[in-house]
């Protein structure tokens, strides 16, 4: 018994940084997710010519906390005919999958839970593949037609698009030659290129698949409120519902992080090897200073004293952090230097992830929703073949460079062209097919009519 305790102690002593990171993720991600919701509402409001939440806190800044409180104190409802156990289990499963998969994501060079794990990104993809269980089981346990249809749709969608995402990632893995997260980022530095430039097709297929995987518009069919009320979440309310909700946003962070790591250079600044762009290193400092200056500018215009005080406080905080960043860090001694590099990497990483998520939001407010058969057709008839062809083409390019010493960029350029050509063919074929499909649909409906009449 003693030895068991001892070994646990040793474990904690060895891994305390990682454990701290894990606790931090569990504690902070829900908060971040809440604020992503706020940002989303603000972005949506901006695109739709309105203000968004304004009441709770200055510019609605405390809205997520108010929402969370409201959800926590809501009545905990379980429908009578629901399967109690699974109804309880499903949202937990979704949330667990989302948070666990975050373990292998590296937010900057030193913030990562599972650091030495050599399957790296594969871990993220694999564990987040557990998410569909939460959805499908939740939909089934609710004992409601809308929920079941939502759950079935969702499962079908997730499975098909995970395949696409997997193949798209393979093209990146091939270029990196490793699955380890840090190694992937470092190879992008040594290759002098983010992989979005070397494998653009891979990136775009991953982009689309990642939107579909997180059930975001235009692929938000499982929870299409105009058709299925709220899909698999119809019977959920209060805290359980918020678990699903958080899982969705946590998943957004995960897929955006994976995309960023593999295709957008992770925590590297743009053009990491070009020295005259070195001033970009001052990016975090500059940005913080700018935010601070803006707050000072706005502080005078606030209608209430509290609000202007708040603005001053934010400005002060920004300036202090900017000063630490800009002045102290480069001259600090090694541990400080280490932390500086970590924060600096995290800045670029989070900036890219934010841009990625912003793109999600932008698409959501611009595009109508797909129909289920169209979604499936897009997935199986276009994206999966395209991703497969892309994998083959990237391998060919790699073989050309390593075996025949062809210039890497040249090889990539031609194979990308080939992939795009294949994509055009696929699209044309699909158009023909979909025309035929809708024709059969109409023919079918006339049959249905006749049988109904007869």
């Amino acid at each position: 018994m003693n030895s068991a305790l001892h070994s646990i102690l040793v474990f904690v002593q060895t891994w305390w940084v990682e454990l701290l990171c894990a606790v931090l993720i569990v504690l902070v991600v829900p908060l971040i997710a809440g604020y992503i919701v706020l940002v989303e509402r603000k972005v949506m409001a901006d695109m739709q010519a309105r203000l968004g939440p304004m009441r709770v806190g200055p510019h609605g800044l405390l809205q997520p906390i108010a929402d969370a409180l409201k959800l926590l104190i809501k009545e905990d409802l379980i429908p009578d005919n629901a399967d109690q156990f699974i109804f309880w289990l499903a949202p937990v499963l979704s949330m667990t999958a989302a948070l666990t998969s975050m373990g292998a994501v590296a937010f900057g060079p030193w913030f990562q839970v599972a650091r030495d794990i050599n399957i790296g990104l594969l871990f993220v993809v694999g564990v987040s593949a557990l998410g569909p269980f939460g959805i499908v089981l939740g939909g089934w346990a609710s004992n409601n037609h809308y929920s079941i249809i939502g759950a079935l749709r969702s499962t079908a969608q997730l499975i098909s698009y995970e395949t696409t995402a997997g193949f798209a990632l393979v093209s990146g893995f091939l270029l990196a030659g490793t699955l380890n997260v840090r190694a992937i980022v470092e190879t992008q530095r040594s290759d002098h290129a983010w992989y979005i430039f070397l494998a653009p097709v891979g990136f775009f297929t991953y982009l689309i698949a990642s939107i579909a995987e997180t059930n975001r518009a235009p692929f938000d069919l499982p929870e299409a409120e105009s058709e299925l009320v709220a899909g698999y979440m119809t019977e959920y309310s209060g805290f359980r519902w918020s678990l699903y909700f958080l899982a969705e946003y946590a998943n957004m962070i995960v897929v955006a992080s994976v995309g960023t790591t593999l295709f957008l250079g992770g925590w590297l600044r743009p053009f990491p090897n070009i020295h005259w762009l070195g001033w970009l290193d001052a990016g975090p400092t500059l940005l913080l200073a700018l935010v601070g200056a803006y707050c000072v500018y706005r502080a005078g215009k606030q209608p209430a004293r509290v609000q202007s005080l708040f603005m001053w406080a934010v400005a002060l905080a920004c300036f202090v952090v900017a000063a630490i960043f800009g002045l102290a860090a480069p001259f600090g001694h090694p541990p400080l230097q280490f932390m500086y590099r970590g924060l600096y990497g995290a800045f670029w990483f989070l900036l890219k992830v934010s841009a990625y998520i912003y793109l999600f939001m932008w698409l959501r407010f611009t595009l109508p929703r797909f129909r289920f058969d169209q979604l499936m057709r897009l997935g199986w008839h276009i994206l999966i073949p395209l991703a497969l062809i892309n994998v083959v083409d990237v391998s060919i390019a790699l073989a050309l460079t390593s075996e025949f010493g062809l210039n890497r960029w040249l090889a990539m350029f031609f194979t990308t062209l080939a992939t795009l050509g294949a994509a055009m063919l696929l699209l044309r074929w699909n158009d023909k097919y979909s025309a035929a499909a809708s024709a059969t649909l109409l023919a079918d409906s006339s049959i249905v009519e006749e049988t109904n009449a007869g």
Binding site: Q48, A49, Y146, P218, A224, E225, R369, F370, S446
Partner: protein
């Protein structure tokens, strides 16, 4: 041998899935039935094989009320039928009673009526466009549409003090003279609106997801339209170039030039295009109308107590949703003997079953949206 295997497989699949028909209830409280419509859908998988509408949740007995009110007292009630185009309802009612009385509203009143009614048509179509786009999953057009609709409602508010159920017209003409800047307001709105309508078009018209969701969805050909009595944009989208405003002009429509947009396939996309173009045409009518509003009285000389001579009259106008007809029988007393309202939504909704057969549940939502029904009018 191979054949028998095939047959077995076919039979098996029949017993497994074919016999498994699912009946789901859409509504009456469903986010995209636009009110309290309930549709019972018989599904084979996600495919609709049959449907039944259950309506009447909002039935208030408007026609019965009419028999117990005087002609003037009943006028505000019609606003509550199609509550998103109250002005059109009022126009139809007032003109019908005027026909019954054999009076005519003075030219100035007719022109102002036309302007307001066309603005109402735009407002109604805007609301339709926003909610229809929302049903199909596009969130943003709704807010743009509401923004423009707000401008129209402001004009109504300035004119008669009410925004939604306006009761803008009176039997015999108008109660209120046009306010000073009416022309300017309408002109400013129309100038803006050209650009704005382009905005919606940019968001939706060429969008391949939008086209995918609406093309060949809910096709209703012209023969079916006429047989089922569907009217308005639904009829025009199926290729019938017919509009009450042209066929049997009322108010001041005979003075203005405008086109009747028609579709070719009668699908949801065509209906969208037709309504979009109708908004443009309405804008043109408004612009023509404000150029020259004749001077003169705004009220024909009708008494305080209306006692139409014995008889009956049927009069129909082109409401935003379709033919809005009033059939009024007078027994010579101050109260109508019978008021029958032909509600366009009610009759258009009949076509739903034909339109959704063979489509997916998702399309049902799009098709309910494209019919542009208002349950207040369906149930009356």
């Amino acid at each position: 041998m191979a054949d028998t295997i095939h047959e077995n497989a076919a039979q098996k699949s029949d017993t497994l899935f074919g016999a498994d028909e699912l009946v789901i209830n859409m509504g009456p409280q469903h986010p995209s039935t636009h009110g309290v419509l309930r549709v019972k859908l018989k599904l084979d998988g996600e495919r609709v094989v049959g449907s039944e509408c259950v309506i009447g949740y909002l039935h208030r007995g408007v026609e019965k009320i009419a028999e117990n009110r005087t002609y003037q007292q009943f006028a505000p009630y019609v606003d509550r039928m199609d509550y998103v185009s109250a002005v059109s309802n009022g126009l139809g009612y007032c003109e019908t009673v005027e026909k019954l009385l054999v009076v005519e509203a003075p030219p100035r009143a007719r022109v102002i009526r036309t302007i307001l009614t066309e603005l109402q048509r735009i407002a109604s179509h805007l609301l339709w466009l926003g909610t229809h786009a929302l049903d199909i999953g596009a969130l943003t057009p709704l807010f743009y549409c509401m923004r423009e609709r707000e401008e129209i409602l402001k004009i109504f508010e300035k004119y008669c003090g009410a925004r939604l159920t306006t009761h803008a017209f009176r039997i015999g003409g108008l109660q209120y003279e046009a306010y000073d800047t009416l022309e300017k307001d309408v002109e400013r709105f129309c100038e803006d609106f050209e650009r704005r309508i382009q905005q919606y078009s940019d968001l939706l018209t060429g969008n391949s997801i939008w086209i995918g969701r609406t093309r060949n969805v809910g096709i209703l050909n012209s023969a079916d339209c006429i047989a089922l009595g569907a009217s308005g944009p639904v009829l025009r989208a199926s290729g019938v170039k017919w509009d009450v405003r042209k066929a049997m002009p009322y108010a001041a429509y005979d003075q203005y030039e405008f086109e009747i947009p028609v579709g070719t396939r009668g699908d949801t996309y065509d209906r969208y295009m037709v309504r979009l173009e109708e908004m443009r045409q309405s804008r043109l009518i408004c612009l023509q109308a404000i150029e020259n509003i004749p001077a003169g009285p705004i009220m024909a000389r009708v008494g305080k107590v209306l006692k139409p001579p014995v008889g009956e009259v049927y009069h129909a106008i082109e409401a935003p949703k379709g033919i809005l007809g009033y059939y009024i029988v007078s027994d010579g007393s101050v109260q109508p003997y019978r008021v029958r309202i032909r509600p366009p939504s009610f009759i258009n909704l009949q076509a739903l079953d034909k339109m959704i057969r063979g489509h997916l549940v998702t399309d049902v939502v799009a098709i309910i949206g494209t019919l542009d029904i208002v349950l207040g009018e369906v149930d009356r």
